[in-house]
C-alpha cells in the first residue's frame, strides 16, 4: 500500500461518488465559516470552519461542554453567532429566525407537544405551511408508517414509551423533508439494544429519503456506526474532521486517538523521519518504533507513537525479527469479553500495554495466562506517530 500524505485522505482506492468532500468541484450544502459564539465571556464555539455536503450523515462528537450542541443550535437559528457566517444551500443565515430556516431539529428530550396527539404532533410542521388537511393526514400516515407507529396515531405523548416518543420526534422532524435535519443526542435516552437497532434505522431512513443529517453525540460507537464523516470537537474547536476510518486509523492528535477507541501511547523522540517512514526511539517501550507513514518532523523532536490494542500480536515466543516494533513483558491482567480478551502486559520499564486478541480457542485452554512472559509485536503499518 503506498504511503499517503497526512492532509488529503488516503487516495489508494478509486473514490466513490458518495464522498463529495474529496471532490474539489462539489458545492457544500452547509458552509460554516469562522464561526465564533461567546456567552458572557465564555467561548462555546471557537472559530469553526466546516463544509457539509448533501446526503451526508455528519457527526459532531465530543465530551459534554465541547460546543457541539451550541453549534447545532446555531444551525437551527436558536442562537446567533457572535461572528462568522453560516450558509445553508447558498443562503446566508444571518438574522434568519428558526421558523424561516430550511432546517428541522430532533431534540434530545424529544419536546413532543403534550396537549396534542401523535398525529397532530407529526403534522404540526405541515400545518404551519397551510398544507391542505387531506394532504397532511396522508403524509402523516406515510411518516408514521415509516417509523412503524401507524397504529398509535391517536395516542398522546404521555402514553408512549421512550422508544416510541423518539420515533414520533423523528417523524415530526422529517415530515417537511428539510434540506438539513439536526439531531441532538437522538438516542441518548434509549437502552443499549434499542439504540443499536435505531442507529441502523436512522441510517436507512436517511438514505431512503436522501436527506442530510447532522447528529450531535458523545458516544463514539454511535458516531462510528452512523456517520459518513465525524468532526471531533474539544473546547469549542474542531480538532479533526474525517471519515470514521480516517479518524480511527489516522488520528491527528493524542486527544483524538484517545477519544475514539482504545490506544497505547509510547512517548519518545524522533530518530529519523522521511516521506514514507518515521522511527521513534522510546525509552518507555525499550525498543525503536518504525512506522511506514511519514510525518513532517526533525530528528530529536518529541513524539508519541500510538498503537491500537487489536493491531498488536501477542505470543509466548519472540518473533523472527525483533529489531523494532517488539517489546516483552508479563501478563498481569486479562479482561475476558467473550469474543475478545484484552491482555494487560507490564513491560520491564513499568509501562502497561493493552493488547486485544480474538478468542479463537476456548478459554479453558488458556494459551496465555497470568504471569506469562510474552512478546508483543506489530507491523510498521500498525502505528501512527503524533506530535501533540
Amino acid at each position: 500500500m503506498p504511503a499517503p500524505d497526512p492532509p488529503p485522505a488516503p487516495a489508494s482506492e478509486a473514490r466513490l461518488p458518495a464522498e463529495p468532500w474529496n471532490d474539489p468541484k462539489a458545492t457544500p450544502l452547509i458552509k460554516i465559516r469562522n464561526v465564533i459564539k461567546r456567552f458572557d465571556g465564555f467561548v462555546a464555539v471557537d472559530d469553526v470552519w466546516l463544509d457539509i455536503y448533501k446526503g451526508e450523515f455528519f457527526s459532531l462528537l465530543g465530551p459534554s461542554g465541547c460546543g457541539k450542541t451550541t453549534l447545532l443550535r446555531l444551525l437551527a437559528g436558536f442562537e446567533q453567532p457572535t461572528s462568522g457566517t453560516i450558509e445553508i444551500d447558498g443562503v446566508d443565515m444571518a438574522g434568519v429566525p428558526p421558523h424561516r430556516r430550511p432546517v428541522n431539529m430532533m431534540f434530545q428530550s424529544y419536546a413532543l407537544f403534550p396537549h396534542m396527539t401523535v398525529e397532530q404532533n407529526v403534522g404540526f410542521g405541515l400545518k404551519q405551511e397551510h398544507v391542505p388537511r387531506r394532504e397532511i393526514s396522508r403524509r402523516v400516515g406515510e411518516m408514521l408508517e415509516l417509523v412503524q407507529l401507524a397504529d398509535l396515531g391517536r395516542r398522546r405523548p404521555h402514553q408512549l414509551s421512550g422508544g416510541q416518543k423518539q420515533r414520533v420526534a423523528l417523524a415530526r422532524a422529517l415530515i417537511k423533508r428539510p434540506k438539513l435535519l439536526l439531531l441532538d443526542e437522538p438516542l441518548g435516552a434509549l437502552d443499549r439494544r434499542l439504540r443499536e437497532q435505531t442507529q441502523f434505522e436512522l441510517v436507512n431512513i436517511q438514505e431512503t429519503l436522501g436527506l442530510t443529517f447532522i447528529i450531535v453525540t458523545h458516544d463514539q460507537d454511535e458516531a462510528m456506526t452512523v456517520s459518513t464523516r465525524i468532526a471531533i470537537m474539544d473546547r469549542g474547536r474542531t480538532v479533526q474532521v474525517g471519515t470514521p476510518g480516517e479518524i480511527y486509523e489516522y488520528p491527528n492528535s493524542l486527544y483524538v486517538a484517545g477519544f475514539v477507541g482504545d490506544v497505547n501511547v509510547f512517548e519518545g523522540r524522533v530518530v529519523e523521519a522521511g516521506k514514507d517512514h518515521v522511527t521513534v526511539r522510546s525509552p518507555e517501550s525499550g525498543c525503536d518504533i518504525y512506522t511506514d507513514r511519514g510525518i513532517d518532523a526533525v530528528p530529536g523532536q518529541e513524539a508519541y507513537a500510538a498503537i491500537r490494542p487489536e493491531k498488536i500480536e501477542i505470543g509466548k515466543a519472540p518473533p523472527a525479527d525483533a529489531r523494532f516494533n517488539c517489546v516483552t513483558g508479563r501478563v498481569f491482567d486479562i479482561a475476558y469479553l467473550g469474543s475478545l480478551s484484552t491482555y494487560h502486559v507490564r513491560l520491564a520499564t513499568g509501562e502497561v500495554v493493552k493488547v486485544s486478541a480474538a478468542n479463537r480457542s476456548r478459554l479453558v485452554e488458556r494459551p496465555i495466562t497470568w504471569e506469562d512472559q510474552v512478546w508483543l509485536w506489530w507491523p510498521p503499518s500498525a502505528s501512527v506517530v503524533l506530535l501533540s
Binding site: P98, H99, N104, F107, A111, F113, P114, Q128, R172, A173
Partner: protein, 267 residues
Amino acid sequence: MKSGFTPATVLALTCGFAFLYLPILLLVAFSFNESRLVTVWGGFSLKWYGEMLRNRQLMDAAWVTVRIGLVSASLALVLGTLAGVTLARFTRFPGRTVFSGLVFAPLVMPEVITGLSLLLLFVSLGWARGFWTVAVAHTTFASAYVAVIVQSRLLTFDIILEEAAMDLGASPLKTFFVITLPVIAPALISGWLLAFTLSLDDLVIASFTTGPGATTLPMRIYSQVRLGVTPEINAVSTVLIGFVTLGVITATLIQKRRFAEGQKRKA
C-alpha cells in the same frame, strides 16, 4: 415516611380545624334555623333561603357582584398573564426589578390603602363611580395573583417546546397561542377562578370605589349586619361560602390533575 394517626396528632388536627372552621359551620348551621333569633335553635327550615331569594336588594347585590367578578377576573387574566409571561421570559431588561415589585405590590398592600388611592384616582379623573370603577379596582389587585400563578407555571414550562414549534415553522406569536397557552391553560383557569373568588369576597376596596347602583353582596351583607344579624344573612353567606369553596376546589383539582399527568409523563 410513615403517616400514622396518634391521639396527639388527632387532637391537634381537631383543634386546628375547629379553630378555622367552627365559626363557619355555626353560620351554615344557623342558616337552616327555623327561629328568627339567630342564636336560638328553633328547628330545621329552609325558609330563610326562600326569604333570601325574595329579597330584591340582596339579589340585585348578588347579581352585581357576579358581573363584577366576571369582568374583573377576565381583565385580570389578560393583564396578569402578560405580566407573568414578561417576568418569566425576559430575565433581563432595564427596570425589571422595579416592574416585578410593582406587579406584586398589590399582594401585600393593605386593602384600605389600595381602596383609598383608587378612590382618589377615580375622583381626580372625574369618573362616575359605580360598576366599572369597582371592576377596574378589582382587576388591579387580582392581576397580581394571576401574574404570580402564570409566572410560577412558566418557570417549570420547558422552553424547548416553543423552540420545537418555531423550528417546525410557527412564528413566535403563533407559538405562544398554539403551544404555550394550551400547555399552561390549567394555570390560567385556576388564576381566573382565584381572581373571581377574590372579587366575590372583597368588601373594603369595593366600599371605597363603588357608587350608586353598584352595591356588592359583601357590602349589602355588611350594612344589613349593622342593623342586626338575621338568619337570612346566614343563608346568603352560606351560598357565598358554597360558591367560593367550589371555585377554590376546582382550581386546586385542575392544578393537581395537571401535576399528576406531568408525573405520569416523566415515568
